[in-house]
Each structure stands twice: as structure tokens, then as C-alpha cells.
Symmetry: D4
Subunit: 250 residues, 8 copies
């Protein structure tokens, strides 16, 4: 509420350019668009640096298409997560230039894959196994659409440490590292013991039995004996990519 | 058992108007109808102020239809919850004027949408996100069929507080507020810190991973640092609407 | 923010009676008192209808005394919960007229026990067993200090239903009922099936083994098959008494 | 191993009627039939008073048919639990006089419904709701095929206590009572407070959200404040009926 | 409520021997004694076959003494559970002939150790390890004070099956067996596979780490692959002894 | 890294036979093959004594086929676990001599069933019930393809101990025993009390309700009162067979 | 292992300046100091940018003193966490200039409180309640000793949002925000919806009952509906301060 | 029961050397000593290769002393675990040559520390941190008293991998490795990926918050992505040392 708009409006109001109700309305109104089943938060781009992201789970195809279109009307970058292929197709039909990412279950507008050139800052997205790819891609694409460069380092789990050591230099030089792992999630601790940059650990639901749908990896990562590791929800590649972008642009 | 009927019957019995067995039978008999697979509780309207509500989950289409009809024979208001569309259709075919609510998965007889006129007391039903709509509608329709006026305030989650503040006056003036939210369920605490009326918080199963099917939201709401918040089961819009109606008519 | 003060200040500002900074300051400033280790929320009485309540757990004796005094300076009613006897004594020494409630572990200023006279509205506080007394008293005293009349109905658990039936008329006529029970918490469902008023169920940590510190009672109450029951946290007598008062004065 | 057979064989062996290997073989051999994928325990009828019961879950249709036939060859009573209708049909085709119980998901040979005549001892099987019928029938049929008389008292949950009181005399006179309930499972405690006979409580998976697939009812029943209540696994109608039969024939 | 008293009173009332209020009072009054902090349930002996049992945990020494005395005034048998030695001493001082059982943490009046003579029916109480003795004694003494004969078979856990087999004949001939075990609780299944009588399994909190305070044993016993096993709460020796007595006297 | 190769290369480097980059590359390079979606760990056979095993869950049919082929190119033994029949067929089409094991859901190359001849060392794989067969076969085939001889002892659960005793001599003579059991998992403790060799316990997800998808068996096995028992994840037959082979060849 | 030292040593080795063993030793040796009960990791400052931090829990006073001294010998900054006052005193006696922080339970060498001057980058450490102070101070002191400037914003929980809004400008301008909250942990989501910078949420064990020792807050924070929030272990102020410092210096 | 004694006795019996009762008694009698509160299993040394081990938790000082003495009468090696120092002193006073191990909380008779000479087979016991020492020593001493040589490798957690690599050759050459770690337990997976021998992972209760008393480490180890790892209960150093000895002597 520490708002230059408010200051300006107060002066205009004093000058008689606008009336009292306009000020009140400004203070009271939220800057969102009401489409009945949703209130689209157009103010978020300003407040958080990126437009509202569409979480497709639990929304109908029609709802996603409509929200995507409304956001696309006002922004050249739109992101939707947890979109199955039917939703993906529907949006791509409705919105020119939208792209569906099958592995990461994302729909994007205004995204392009962007690997760093020499000396450019970047984020490393690392996955332990092939089964973690979907979550890793969700993180990588999210960071890319927000403007980050991303280096992908996949399938380097601790059962074969030499694979990790072979790629370690790529990870060491990143501004931030996203580490995606299921089962026991030990990769986060191992990388946490080796590099200097902040690490965002993403537990995945890969595993069975006592993996408890990702809880084992989640608990493991929260208890990492290596400092510099923070954690997001199970399978939350989006949140990790988002935070990694924020961190790398602090 | 503090029962004027019993007093009257005792006098009649003493007077010889009725025999001993009639008194015993009165005390022993419950006021319900036995249809084999169920004992329909016709006494409940008197005892609890509203007829028995049909919980459709785990009942066959035929069972629901028969119970609905029996209740409709004795009451102008009937409510069935957790009804899928097949059950909804079957009841609507069998019972004239029954209505199926697709979003809230309810079947009603004797319901109409009822928004408050100026100065009329009402209940506010608030939801955090679009994915919580089904539970919110279950609450709203339940309160309406019981006789309450309802104002719906949807998609005002804490990720965009300005949306909430824009609608806050509607919530502040309600007799009781039902707050429906999944994920971390923080909306209940935020509204609990802002308004005076009793709040019934409904955690929903919206979310994934560490949301644990709604347990995260449930635990969050139970631990709310704001007083005046009570909680019902995950996704229990019916219970929240029911209690909100009771509260608003105390 | 639907605030008559803001409207008045805007007019005064326009009239030149106050300057722009005063308006900004008003909007920005919260109405609280900063004592270093805490920000005492004096605004709460206006916003929530009762002053901030002191949660003593995790605070030092000195901190509680200081906060209690500050609140007592501005309000004739103060409530502190989860106070052990050492804290209770310290406050009673420092603040004339403060009273320590040993069973309920509360400190009050401005409380008096208040049972209803004939026809006066009241809240019923019901406990299942003798071991639940502490939580029940927390609820009863909280409701009383907020201004409610309270009828206490203790030790009427379902293992001896006749004890409950002997007191049922007191419960039936209450505006709201607080039901306090540990172990399996079945009392909430039983009363929920018998009375018309809204019920707030308080699970207690009474029990052992699979009682899981009150989780069994909590889960049981959340799954009550009787409508009209809402639930608060384990041992949260304060929250139940607070909400019951709100409900009974809607 | 306190075995009269062994004593007799030792005498026969001493007398030369049998050789050493026969004794050894007797001690070593278990009395079962090996059909490759299973070792059918024909000794169980003697040891436990009833033949091995077939648990169909996780077995193929062919496996169930074969085991059922082998048991039917040696016993006039056979019981299979958790049988879906396809398995039921297959067994009924293969084994003359086998009967499939659709509600309870059982296949029986040698069963007949048996309600007690006056003064005959019997077991009461009580269910809280219509959705608990399947588990209640599993218990009732199990007790019947083992030789017990059974009285069924269904849909008498605590939300309408008068329904229970109307049937209470049937329950009070039973040798043992099986109480089947989901959600919060309070019915077990209520009946436990009212009757004298041993009670076997069966939690069911009926419910949603914080019912946790029956864990809420299970915990509630284990923590029952009424003595005389013992508990079996969630949805384990078979185990309850089996134990109730044992108890009623002690 | 199927009560011969009520029938008799109605006749007396009709005859004018008693007035209407006496009948009402009879119906309304529960048969309990109100001592302020507790309602002592004197009716229970009639309804459940044994007087109310005092659960000492969470009660003060004074409260236990007073309740014990009141019960001792009306009954020659009194039982209090979970009594530490201070409470035990206080009761023994106040009540002549009361006895404190240190291992089982019980106070009894009217108990004597009673092993069965030849051919007398009895209950077997079996424990897996020395650390389970306290719970086993709670079960044994409870059964004895209720009137059962008890045979104790202690320290026969499955790590040394030959110890169990050496005592098996004692267990096989019991009317009911109480099996007390911590850690993984496998003893219940093993005995369940060997004997014919009903078994009540008591998980104990003996163990560490993944024993989870007795939850591992509890879950194991609930999932026993042997039929005829029912379960009570962790460390609930009282409940097991109580039910075993009921079973053995069905 | 205690590596004779490195020593040799250093000498060659000093001798000028190879240049500095070759040494660096050797140290940095992991010995794996990058196929885009996976880094196949060819070094594992040397490091761990067996090639990388393919975990099919969460991999596409095409991915499994490709990895299987790459491994088959370099090794005469390949193992893939958790393969459904579609994946199994696809691999068998693509790789001559590959074999699909339907019960154990495995694909093997270079496996043959191998029961021990007299005096040959072997592993015993024991299962409690017919429903545990799939996990038991996963263990047995894994041990066999690694080179062990295996004796299978199936369906000898504790509900019928005589079946177990009939086969006990086979188990006693094994170098290591794999014990596969669901429900309460008591078989591990019973065998642990009877034999001398190391035991690997595999809990299975067989069961329902409080079996909690195998957690009850897992907890039971971890708390086994018999020493010499170690445990693997729920349904992890592969891990048990793998470790049993290692143990038997120590 | 992408190590300029190794390259240099290889050249020296080729030149004959060092022998083969020196190279091998370099590769093999870890850079740590072995004091018997611990291997002090002196290499960490180089690898991770800060010396090894001493976790005092579970270590004796003597062990902590010795490790602290060894680290102080090589570094002008040392940090020890979870130190009770006895340990704190012992270290302060042994190491000149060491300082014990009572609230945060830390021992530092080389720390000074450092609030930012105008335009200097800083970290905001925010706490919801007075009871969360200890964890918040652990975070703040950790960040300060690593070299960050810190602004503390304490006691601004969501029950009184105006307190938060009054301090919001301090939080908005931080490079990174550490949000410390117990109970339901909603403060993280609320701040997450309001500011642009990366947020590290620290759940605390403040609360009771269903707070489950901090699990409710942890789950709530992991499920935050606001992006840009990552989470550390319950009460892990150290980890949050450490990561916040890393982020603010990326 | 495949017992040469039985065969011999049968022949003697036939020959008249012994009577029938002797044979029966032999079969029936377990080989244990009954001291009232315990049945000491003297048969175990023969059956399991090592005498019964005394688990001191939950036993009185007197009980431990008595059992220790009885075992010492028959065996030159005795082991007691989880003994606090009071118990340790009492035993050492009563039994000459008994030794109390303070760190590992063990009492031994007949133990001596035994590190392997060159080429001797040995077990490696590895711990992640200084706080894990107690559990590691329990494992090491257990293996030693059973006859194994042990190499201890302590404080080599994954936060400083170079410490581990510096000691790796000691671990690689062991017959079996015991890996002791708390927090996230990642060390088991890392070593599992590096060595060939069987690994027994011991989770410890070291950690706080989401470590859940060792459950995080336990789940992590059960889900290890590296094959060859089996797991024992939290803090169960004894079980790990016991199994490691068995494995190394297969």
C-alpha cells in the first residue's frame, strides 16, 4: 500500500481532478477480472513480477481455455501447469502460438528453450532418474519462460556417483540449482555437500511402498545434513523453477 | 425424554383411555420407517429442525430413489449429497420438482437460490480457488434449502489478497462465514483475523503431494492463530452449510 | 478498509485541515503497541469484539506480566490462557483484581462466574470425563469473560448414557453447546444426534496408546455422522468458548 | 504336540507295528495338501474348529476354484471371502450347491440363513448405516456357516439414537454383538455402555477425508471409553463373525 | 428401557400408590451419584455386570480416594487402574482391605489371586517378554477380580518358540486367551494359528524407534492372518482382562 | 578411485604416451552412455558386480527397449523389473533370448531356473501366502540371474505353522533366507527364531485396511524380536534377492 | 574434481618436481582433521564458502569446545547452533571473543549485529509471534555472521494483518525474506502473495495438539498457494539464514 | 525337529533303555530356565549360534543382574544392550570380568576389541556424524563379541564427501558394511552406489523436527536407489552388528 498511485490520486483529488469516490474505489478495488468461476489476478505481474499462472488440475477444459485467453490478451507470456494433452490441444487451438510441453505437462505462450552462452548466468536443473523427467521439465520450462537460461543435467542419481562427477562443473557454475529426485532423495544432500550456490530440492513421487508417494524423499530433503538446501512440495517443479529464477535474478 | 407427550399419555393411561402397552410402545418405539436396507429417520425434522439428509456415496441408485421418495412423501424439503449425475437423473425422473446440482453434486427438493435483500441476514460462502467450487456450492445450497440467504464470494485466495479486500465488506456483514480452501488453507486464518462473525472453515482435497488429500489444509485450519474459527471434515461443504444455517438462526 | 475514518480524513485533507502525510500514515499505520518482543494488537477489540488474548505458552513470566499490564491499561477485560501457576501468581501480584483459575490454567481480569437466570440465553459446556475438566473450564471461563452465561454439565460420557439423559434438558435449551471429550470423542456425535443447537466439539488429549495424543478424538469428531458439529484443535477450550460466545450472540 | 496320536504311534513302533521312519514322518509332515501355488491346510478344521477359509483377493479365478473344490472334497462347509461376482460365478458353476452372496462378497457351501428360535442363543450383528451393509453381511454369513444363529439389526447409527433404542432388546439378549460402523464409529461405544455381552467392533472404510479409509473409526473403537469392546481390522466382517461365533460357543 | 421396574411402577401409579412425578423422575433420573467433579455411575454394576472402574490417570489423589470410597460403600469389589504408588498408598490408607498391585499399577478391593483347580474353566494370560509384565498383570488381576480363574504364561515370545510349545497345553485348554506382546506382536498370530479359543491381543508400548509407541504391534495384531483374534488399545490390559472374563462367562 | 588404471595412465602420461587431457578426461568422465533420456551406467558391473538393472515403472516401452538393448550389447545378463506384459512383449520381440516372467513382472536375459544339487550352497525364498507369489518370484529370479541357486518354499504362513515345520530343513540349510509376507508379516520373526542364517524380510502390500499398503508388515519386520533379520522396502523382491545373492557369496 | 590444483600437480609430476604418490595422495586425501570422535572439515570453507558449522545437539560440552577451538584456530568466523547455556559458557571461557546468544541458542566468533544502511542490500527476517523468536534469531544471527545485513520484523502474524502492513515496506525491499511461523504457518503464504523476492519459510514447533510439533506449519508452507516460497525443516532457523545469505549474494 | 537326538532316543526307547515318558518329555520340553519373571533361553546358542542377548530396557537392575549371572554360568560370552550406567555398574560388581561400554550402553562378558590383521576378513562400521557414535559402537561391539574383526570409520557423512573418499578403501574391502546415519540417512545410498559388499543400514534418531525421531532416515534407507542395502530398526546397532557378523561368516 506504499503506493505512488495513491499519492498521485490524492493530489488529483485535492486538485478536484477526481472525486472522493474515485479514491475510495481505487483503494477498495482489487485489480482483477471477474469471469464468474474465477477472479483473474492481472495485478500479479506487477506485484510478483510474473502474471498469474494457471493451475489446470481441477479446472475444466473450457475454464482453462478462457483464463488462458484472458491472460494472453494482456501479457505476451502465459504459463499453465498440470495440463493433460486434451487441455493442451484445446488451448493450442484457441490461442495462436501457444505451445504444449508433453513431458512437463505445461502450456506456454512466449517461451523458447534457452541455453546459456558462455559467461551468461544460468540455472542448473538436475534429475536423479529418468522417471523424474516430467518434474524436471516443469522446473526448466518455468524458469525459461520467466527469462532464465537453463542447463539440464539429467539421470545422475547417487547409485552411480561417477555420472554426477562427470557433470559437476556444469552444476558448480550455476547461479542456482534445482535438484529433482524421488525414492530417498539423497541427491540433494550430495550436491549440497559439493557446491556453493543455493539449491532448491524437489522431491518426486517416483518410488513405491515406503516411498509413501514422495514423503520419504520430502522428509529426506528437509533433513539434509548439507546447508544451503531448501525444499518445495512433492512434484512441484513449477515452484522450484519459479524460485530458482527469482534467486538467480536477485 | 422431557416429553409432554409422555405426561399426557400417563394421564390418559391412568384415566383408562389407553392401556399399559400403548405407553410402553410409545417409549420403546422410535419414530422411523423401516425399508429393509435402511431405517428412515422421520423424527429428525422435529429433533434437529431438518429432515434426514441422504448421503448417496455407497448407496445404489435404487436405494437413493426409494429413500428420496419416502422423505418427499412427508416433507416439502429433501436434500441428498454426494450424488453423481446418474443418481441425480434417476431421482429427478422419479420425483417431480427434484433438482440436480451438477457442481455441488446435490439433489434438492424445495430449494431455490436466495440472495439476501438489503438488511436481510445472510451467510457468506467464500472459496479460495476455482477448484474449490464444488465444495463451496455444497455448502451454499445446503444453507439455502434450510432457509438461509447466501452471498457467494469465490476465488479470493491469499495469493492475491487485493481480491479478498475488494469483497471484504460482503463478508464482514454476514451472520456467519463459510471459508472453503485447499492447499494450505490459509484463507481461514486471514479472514479470521479480519471479521467479527463466527467462521466455519472447510478444508478441501485440492492440491497434491504434501497436501495429503486435504490433511494439510485441515491441520492448518485447526491450528489457526485467529480465534472464532471452527472446522469441519475435508470437503464437507454440507456440514459447513448446515452449521452456518444453525448459527445464523440461533 | 470500508472505513468512515478514511472518508472523514479525505475530506479534512481536501479542506487542508490535515496534510497528505497524515492520510498516508493513517493508511499505513497499524493500531498496535510495540514493546520490542511483541506488537500488542489494541485494534483487535474493535475488529474482533474482544481484546487480544495472551497465549502464555512459550512466553516468559516477565513477558506475560508486561503484556497483561499493557492490555489492562486499556481494557477492563483481559484474558490469558495456558498459564501455569507461577505465571498466574506473578500476574496477580502485578495487576490488582486479576484472578488465576487453576483448573483451566487461565488468568482473567473482569471475569465473574455467571449462570443464567430463567429465560436468559446461555451456552452449555459439557465434558465426558473428570480428566477433561481443565479443557472444559478453559471454554467456560472464556465464554463468561466475553459476556455469555454458561451452564456446566460435566462427566456425562457415553459409557453411562443415563447420566447424559438426566441432564439433557439443560443442553437442549442452550444457544450453543461446547462438547469436550477425549478417548474416542463419541459424546459429540451422540449429542449431535439429540439436540438442535450448533455444537462445537473439543477433542482432548485424555487417553493413551492409540489415542495418539487426542488425534483419535479429533478424527472421530471431524467424521461425526451427526450434522451441526464443528471442531476445534485438541485441548483448545479457549477457541471453543470464544466461538460459542460469538454464535450465541449472532 | 501334546498328541495322543504320537503316544499311540510310539507304542506301535515299540511293538514293531510301524517302523522308525513312520514316526519321524508323522512328526515332520504337516497335514496339508500342496497344489503348487498353495498349501491347503486340511489340518485346520481339527486345530481351529473350522476349515481353512479362502481369501480371494490377489488370487486368480482359477486358483480360487481349485482350492474351493479341494476343500469341498473333504468338508461339507466351505467359505471364501472378498470374492467378486466373476469369481463367485466361476465357483458356483464348478461346485454344485455353492452359493454366492453378492452384498457380502462371499461364496459359501453348506450355509443357510438361520435366525434364532425363542430361547436359542444367538449373535447380534448391528450396523450403523446402509453403506456398512456389505461388511455386516460378511460377519453375519460367516457366523451362520460356522453354526451360529444371527439376528441382524441394521441402520441404527447414533445420529438417530431412538432407532437404536427401539431395537435394543434384541441386542441385549445376544451372546455376543458385532458392531459395524464407519465414519467416527461411535456406535461401538454407545452399545458398549448399554449392554452386558462381549462386543466385537468392526470399523468400516465408509466416509471420506479425515475418515482416512477407516482409520478414524478404528482409532475411535480402540479408544472406546466403554469396557467389553474388542476390535478387528477395517472392513474385516469375516474376522468379527468368526470371533463372535467362537465367543458364543465358549 | 425394556424395564420391569417401569411396568411395575406404571401399575402402581395407576393404582394410585405413586404419583405421576415419581414415574417421570424414575425415567428421567440416571442412577448415579454427583460428587461435583464426577458423576459416579452406580447403575453400571447392574447394566454391565461390574461396578464402574476408576481410571486414575489425570485424576488427583484426593479425587481417586473419594471415588474409591464411594464405590466401596456400595460394592464389595472395586477396581482402579493406572494408579501410581502414591495414589495406591493413599487409597490403601483410606480404605481397609484395599490392595495395591505394584507391577500392574492397580488398586483392588475384594480381589484374591485365583488359579483354577482341575477341570475349572479359566483364562490364560500370555506375555511375550519380561517387559510386558505390567500390562499382563493388569489383564490378569482384572479378570480375577471379576471372578475368573487365571493361568499366567509369561515370557514365551516367538524368538524362542520352544518355550511356547512347552506351555501350549495350558493355553489350548483356556476358555479365552489374552496375548500381550510389544515390538512386532507376532505372538498373537502364532497362538492364533495353534488354538481354538477366542484370543484377545494386547499390543504393548515395549520397543523403540519404528515400534512407534506400540503402533507396530497394534497394526500387526489387527492384520493377523489367523482368525479368532480381536484387539484392544495399546497397553490396555484392563480392557483385555475385562473382555476375556465376559467371554469366558458367556 | 583407488585405481590401477589411474596409476598406469599417470606413468604413460609421464612417458609422453598420452597427454594431460587424456588423464583429466579419464578422471572426469564417468563410464556411462548417454542416450538423452538416460545415462546408462556401464561401469556398474565392475563396481557392484552386476550390470545396471532397469526399473521399468515410469519409463515408456520405447525407453525400456532401448536401454535393454544397450545393456544387452555389452553384457550377457540383463534384468528389468516391474515390467508389465506389454513392455515384456516389446523387449522379447526386440531382444532375442530375452524372457518375460509374468508372475514376477521381470524381463531377463541370460537367466535359467537353477535349483541346487546336493551340497551346493543355495538361497531359500519363502512366502507366507499365495498372494505374495509375485514378490517372491521377483526375489528368486533376481538371485538366480546373479548366479545363485534358489529353493522356493511358498505358502507357509504362521496361521498353519505345521506347513512351515514340514519344510523347515530346507530353510535351515540355506546360506541366506528371503522371507516374503504381507498382513502382519509375523513369518519373519518366527523363522528368525528358528534358523541360524541371515534373513532378509520383504513386507508385501498384501492386505487391506490397517495393513496400510504394507506398512503394518514393514513395521512388524523392523521390530522383529528375533535377531538376524534385516528388511527391504515393501514389495521389493528385487532388492531382497540381490542382497541375498551378495550375502551367499561373501 | 575440475581442479586447477590437479592440473598443476600433473605438470609438476611430469616435470619430476613431485612423485606419483603425491598425485595419488592428493586425489585420495580429504582435507579434514581427525580428532578421534570427529573429522573436522576444514575444506568446507573453500567448497561451500563458510567453515563447517557445529551442531551441538548430541555432542558433549568437551567435544563442542574442542571442535570450536580447532575451527577458531583456522578461521576468524565460527558458528555453533543448538547450544544450551552450559555449552555456551564453556566455549566462551575457552575461546576469547566467542559470544553466546541466549535467545537463539548460538555461539559465535566474529559476529556483530549489522543492520543495513540506506541502499545497502539486506535480508528480512520476519516472525509471526513472540514464541517464534528463538528460531528467528537463529536465522538472523546466521545470516549476519556470514556477512549479510539483516532487518528484523517480529510478531506480525496474520491474526492482526494491519501489523504486517505497517511493516510491509521493510519486507518488500529485502533481497530475500525469511518467514518464521508456527501453528498453521499462514504468514508465509500471505507474504508470498505480496512481495517479489524469494521467501524461505521456516515452520516452528510452536503450537499444541494438531500442530503435531510443527508438522501442520510445515505442510502448510509446502502447500503454499503463493509461488516463490521454499521451505526448510521445522525450527531450522540456521538453514534458512544460511540459504538467505547465499541467495542475497548470488 | 529334523533331530538326530530324536532318532537316537527312539532307538533307545525301542531298546528299552528309556521309557515313553522320556521321549514325550524331550519333545515337549523347551530347553530354557524359568526364573519366574523370565524364561531364559539356553537353547538359543545352539539354534542361533549365540546365547540369548539381554535387552535391558524395561527390566529392573535386579532382573538384569540375575539373567546375566545365569547366562554367565553357562556361557563364556554374554551380551546385554541398552544398559544405563547404573545397570552397568551393578552387573560389573556381580559378575567378574564383565565390562560396561559407556558410549554404546552395552555390558559384555568375553569381549575384546579386535581389529583385523592384514588379509583377515572384517566388518566395516561407518557412521555419518559424531552424534551417531552410540549406535555405531553398539553395532561394532556386538559384532566383535560374536567373533568378528571390526574396522570403525566414523564421521564421514555426505556433507563432506571427501572425508568418505579418503576412507573408502577400508570400506570396499570389508565382508559387510554397517552404515549408521541419522537426519536424511543419505550415506547408505552413497556407499551403496560405491561398494560391492552387502550393506546393513541403521537409521538413527539423530535430528529434529521432520526427522520424526529417525523415521526420515528409516524411510530414506528403505527407498535407497542403490541395491544391496538392507535396513534395521531405528537406533538398532545391535541388530546390525548381529546380522553383519552372520553375513561375514556365511
Amino acid at each position: 500500500m506504499n503506493d505512488t498511485n495513491l499519492r498521485r490520486m490524492l493530489l488529483e483529488f485535492k486538485a478536484g481532478a477526481i472525486d472522493q469516490d474515485a479514491v475510495i474505489e481505487y483503494v477498495e478495488s482489487g485489480l482483477y477480472e471477474d469471469v464468474g468461476f474465477a477472479k483473474i489476478d492481472h495485478h500479479r505481474a506487477k506485484r510478483k513480477g510474473f502474471p498469474e499462472v494457471i493451475y489446470c488440475a481441477g479446472k475444466s477444459k473450457q475454464q482453462v481455455v478462457e483464463i488462458f485467453q484472458r491472460l494472453a490478451d494482456r501479457s505476451d507470456k502465459v504459463l499453465a501447469t498440470r495440463a493433460d494433452s486434451a487441455v493442451g490441444e484445446a488451448v493450442c487451438e484457441a490461442v495462436k502460438d501457444a505451445k504444449y510441453h508433453e513431458i512437463g505437462q505445461l502450456i506456454t505462450l512466449g517461451w523458447s528453450r534457452s541455453e546459456p552462452e558462455v559467461e551468461q548466468p544460468y540455472i542448473a536443473v538436475i534429475s536423479a532418474g529418468t522417471s523424474d523427467l516430467s518434474v524436471a521439465e516443469e522446473a526448466a520450462v518455468t524458469a525459461e519462460i520467466m527469462g532464465s537460461k537453463v542447463v539440464r543435467v539429467y539421470d545422475v542419481g547417487v547409485a552411480g556417483l561417477h555420472r554426477l562427477f562427470g557433470e559437476l562443473h556444469k552444476i558448480e557454475d550455476a547461479k542456482a540449482a534445482v535438484v529433482v529426485a524421488g525414492m530417498e532423495g539423497a541427491l540433494a544432500s550430495v550436491i549440497g555437500g559439493l557446491i556453493h550456490s543455493p539449491i532448491i530440492a524437489v522431491p518426486t513421487s517416483v518410488g513405491y511402498g515406503a516411498a509413501l508417494g514422495g514423503m520419504a524423499a520430502l522428509l529426506g530433503m528437509l533433513n539434509s545434513c548439507a546447508p544451503g538446501v531448501t525444499v518445495v512440495n512433492i512434484d512441484n517443479g513449477f515452484g522450484a523453477g519459479y524460485s530458482a529464477h527469482l534467486i538467480s535474478t536477485v
